[in-house]
Amino acid sequence: MASPVVGIIMGVIFGASLVLAGLTNPDRIIGALRLKDFHAIRTVVFFVLVAMLGTWILGLFGAANLSIKPAVVLSVMIGGALIGIGLGLTGFSPATSLASAASGRIDALITVVGMIFGAHVYILIYPSVVVRLEKIFNFGNVTLPELTGVSAGIWVLSIFVAGSLVLLITWSMQPRFGEADLGVKGAFPASTDSQTVAGGMGLLLRSDYIKAAYVFRRWKNLLFLVMLLCLLLNQASFWLVITGQVEISGNTNFDAPVVAGADNTRAGQTTPEEGSGSFMLFGYNVTFGLLSSIMRVTSIILILASAFYALIMSFGMSVSFKGGLGGLNHICGALYMALIIFVLLMPWQAFFGPLVLGATYTTQELIRWSTTDISDNFTMVLFYLRFSGYLALILLLLILTQLRSLRWVRAIKAVSREDDRNPNP
């Protein structure tokens, strides 16, 4: 299939796409590296997410032709640094320099000439430098799922969430020069709106922004309540188990880490049996199986709700900024705390082992700790810090975030009252 004809067709599509995406403009790349222009960042992040998701789906059907590069960490890091310097200096990557040169840029053409010379330098240093570097920190052609034992689906989901957050954060940030100056067709009509609002000439428009902020406030409060409920349910389940009200039962394979709610339950792992060591609550038989399900479900909801909570804060910040509603310092603070909550809640132990612990835990982890001897004080403190203290910290952060966002709401209310008093500024 890898014939010259396929190569040319794929190249034509890719080259045209680069021009259409605006990535052949070095100003876009430099602006992105200086964090002044987010078009290229958003494009690249979305590119990565779509390609990753598509490749994963292809892999499910066995249709992906993969070619994993060797993870020779030191060599890759040096190479990445050199490309980074070149990119920061010129604003071109190998692909965009070719496409940009074809669009008439002389500097890109000279960069292509430089790359041909660079290939020559690489060939010259290959025997003395590259061959030696190949032997240092060489992990081989390995993927993240292979290295960690975590399924590709979980990795795709995690990176997708992280990438979506980057998109949302950059979406809410206005570039120093409006995108109209950068020439994005039809983008940022709000830049003129915000100027109108800032000039005190668009009270109707500002009223719209205020209403939008109230919508986000309602969602924010709802998510806060959901997270609060999940935290309380999770802790109630934990204390019922740990105080012996409900006995732990069932066989579990402790060696393989399992992310809560993941679909990668393996052979040898069985869910705890129901029916033994239960107690009655309001006439309902509470078993360990039920509690483990509650812990699993609440963990998943907590992670998702925290992501949406941060998302809502980001939207709120964007509305507040564009509408000139004030309280930006409060909503920014709330956004950062919401992001910290999300990061802390993620089950990092599933990816990096027990050295990096996320606040959410699996039933298997709880059983493993519960069946370990924790008679000495240090281990006991660690145990309660892990399963209760960590979530208490999350609860504290959540309350602080909510309080901070309340100050943002108060600032908007003050603006709303001011507008009501002076309808004709």
Binding site: V5, G7, V12, F14, G15, S17, L18, V19, L20, A21, I30, R42, T43, F46, V50, A51, T55, W56, S67, K69, A71, S75, V76, G79, G80, L82, G84, I85, G86, L87, G88, L89, T90, G91, P94, A95, S97, L98, A102, S103, G104, R105, D107, T111, V112, V113, M115, I116, G118, A119, Y122, I123, V130, T143, W155, V156, F177, D181, G183, K185
Partner: protein, 181 residues
């Protein structure tokens, strides 16, 4: 009208990202992840094999058969040039330019310095691509699409040093992106 068109990004970010992502998925379905830098090495290998065959026989890279292949990758790069040229002509953005707005804002020096910087940058980019086993297209975009471990250290140093270099070379932000020379 043409002035404003030449500064226009034809697609919004989401459409551009979607298009590029789908192109990558199509490439992986048909052949494999896209890569741009290897054909540059292939070209040099071809030249050196012709110019200095005795030296090439003893060289571990020049004697490697995988670098003597003028197949898919080489034609892929030709396709990039053709596709970009066609798109630029179709969008009426094809224009001879030497300096970018960021360069003009930060350097009063003539275009020659920009060209020298471009050449040096090109040398570093391809040297880095060789050491990193792939360039931005192959190692970054292709690496993350396949969830390969090597994409992580590559991404960290690429953007870390990229941002540092951009901050040093382009400390001043242009007020607006004027049309390039």
């Amino acid at each position: 009208m043409e002035e404003s068109n030449s500064r226009t990004t034809p697609l919004p970010w989401w459409a551009a990202g979607l298009l590029l992502g789908l192109v990558q998925v199509l490439a992986i379905a048909l052949v494999g992840p896209m890569g741009v830098s290897k054909p540059f090495v292939d070209t040099d290998v071809k030249v050196l094999n012709s110019v200095a065959p005795e030296y090439s026989e003893k060289h571990p890279l020049l004697s490697d058969e995988q670098y003597k292949d003028f197949g898919y990758g080489w034609w892929f790069n030709i396709g990039i040039v053709l596709g970009a040229c066609f798109a630029a002509l179709h969008l009426r953005v094809w224009k001879i330019r030497t300096i970018s707005a960021w360069w003009r804002r930060n350097h009063d020096a003539p275009a020659l310095l920009r060209l020298i910087a471009g050449f040096c940058g090109g040398v570093l980019i391809l040297l880095g691509a060789g050491l990193a086993y792939g360039c931005i297209t192959g190692q970054f975009f292709g690496g993350w699409a396949q969830l390969s471990l090597s994409a992580i250290p590559f991404t960290i140093t690429l953007f870390g040093f990229g941002m540092l270099a951009a901050y040093i070379v382009y400390p001043k932000t242009p007020n607006r992106l004027e049309e390039e020379d």
